[in-house]
Amino acid sequence: MQNIKSNKNHSAFTKKNLFITAGIILGFFVVMLLAEGSLLNRQYKSLIVPIGIYIILAVSLNLTTGFLGELSLGHAGFMAIGAYTGALITLNLNMPEVAEFIIALIVGGSIAAIFGVLIGVPVLRLKGDYLAIVTLAFNEIIRSIINFLGITGGAMGLSKIPRYTNYVWVYAMVVLTIIIIYNLVNSRHGRAISAIRDNYVAAESIGLKVSKYKVMAFVIAAFFAGIAGVLYGHNLSVLKPADFDYNKSIEILVIVVLGGMGSIRGSIIAAAILTFLPEVLRAADDFRMLLYAVVLIAMMLFNSSGIRTRLEESGKLPKLPKLTRNKAK
């Protein structure tokens, strides 16, 4: 479709795309090897799907928190909406597995996104840190509603959800999430979002529609949280409202903060480590929330952009080229 001239002009980009495609395929084979081979025992293999789900949650929350600069404490609420919507779809539809699951993913993400609009439009117009409070309340309200409704199974939750989630689906969704969010933050829309974060008065003065881009970032994040929820429900086969309390939202936020605000790669690495570690250090489980609280407070105090960045800046680690925009000196 592209004409030859423009192809020539952008050969550098085409080459880069080739590398990325090769990387994605290679990554898939590595995940396949881990999931199917004999390198990992059963316990570790069972972590592959949760790690992927947390990567989607963390990268999407990073869009709201790191790139838009708004604190959201309700990401698990959007995840819950996606999880229950998706489960109700596959429990009630009678279609081939792949078709059913694709519908569940799309509708689960979209319903979460619609809730994102309903919350984002009124709240993001306000100046100040209202979003944190409102999203926290939203999370608890959603959980209470799910707890109360008949169709969601009340406190007992839903069970016998088909176990459609496997490493292939998760890998595909992780790649989709990362590509879309990475591409977004490096586009004209992403620049608008980051500009609003850095200085909304200046952003308005250069003709950016502040409310529009705030809502856009928030809704896209909600969409992917919904997708993560669908994967989550179809991995465990059971869903309970208690899975989505605000502790879950805090957990995702800790991953983002530890990985670095505005660092997509940081979110990916932190999601993997923070899902893996508690599983390995079972004994530490009781201390997890305490640990998270301490970590969050420490990071806020140091106003950090992530451990990696801190260590790099202090010269204790060699600098890596960054995946995200905050690369320059």
């Binding site: 004209r188 980051s194 003065s205 003709g207 950016l208």
Partner: protein, 252 residues
């Protein structure tokens, strides 16, 4: 018809009449100065012109279009860009991205193009890069394009703000104390750049400045403001010899 026509402009903050009955006519291509002691209401006039505040009285017309009541982002799109007295850059973004953000409404592609990087993404980003670099070059900032804005020295941050405003393709550019904090050499250089920008981009400039050398050096007409009201308007030599103006400044 003037490019900017301001009539009976006024705003009150509580009991304070910060701007009172100000009239201002700026012709296309003019380099106009707005001066006055601290607290006279100069920055407030900029905030009124750019929609940050809504005037309690008066009308503002740009190219004959009434802009009172429009949002700052709409006003930018009708053709007014500005800089801020207290620098407001996108600090965690690169110098290049600061300017590219300001090209937002000129080089456009859809959200889907952003998500999936279709071929137009590369074409239009390239176009944006070229445009942005061309503007940065005017301000001698092209060498620092990949720096974070917060890592620029102070004088260059001021220049980047002007570059960013210019990138929105304005008819009228408002500069709020562009030379503040600069040494005489930097100020002289800035004067040259401002004049050059006006000629090269064919725009009109209204600037607030305390540096009288800069004002008399480049402004073709000035308005002196005192306690929110017009004290005098005219060519710099005349106005600055006006006894009332001298008292206002000495009395400060």
């Amino acid at each position: 018809m003037s490019l900017l026509e301001v009539k009976n402009l006024g705003i009150s903050f509580g009991g304070l009449r910060a701007v009172d009955d100000v009239n201002l006519n700026i012709e296309k291509g003019q380099l106009y100065g707005l001066i006055g002691p601290n607290g006279a209401g100069k920055t407030t006039i900029f905030n009124l012109l750019t929609g940050v505040y809504r005037p309690t009285t008066g009308t503002i017309k740009l190219d004959g279009v009434d802009i009172v009541g429009k949002s700052p982002s709409e006003i930018c799109q009708t053709g007014i860009a500005r800089t801020f007295q207290n620098i407001r850059l996108f600090k965690k973004m690169t110098v290049l991205d600061n300017v590219k953000a300001a090209l937002h409404n000129q080089v456009k592609y859809s959200l889907i193009t952003s998500f999936f990087r279709t071929s137009s993404y590369y074409q239009l980003e390239k176009q944006m890069n070229e445009k942005a670099m061309e503007i940065l070059k005017v301000f001698d900032l092209d060498g620092q394009a990949s720096y974070l804005a917060s890592n620029l020295p102070y004088g260059k941050q001021r220049k980047l703000e002007i570059a960013r405003g210019l990138a929105t393709n304005p008819k009228l550019l408002l500069l709020d104390e562009p030379a503040a904090g600069m040494n005489p050499n930097e100020t002289a250089e800035l004067m040259e750049t401002i004049r050059l920008v006006r000629d090269k981009y064919n725009i009109t400039i209204l600037l607030i400045e305390h540096d009288m050398k800069l004002v008399t050096g480049i402004c073709e007409k000035i308005l002196v403001l005192n306690f929110g009201t017009e004290l005098a308007t005219g060519v710099p030599e005349e106005v600055l010899n006006n006894p009332e103006v001298i008292t206002a400044y000495l009395g400060e």
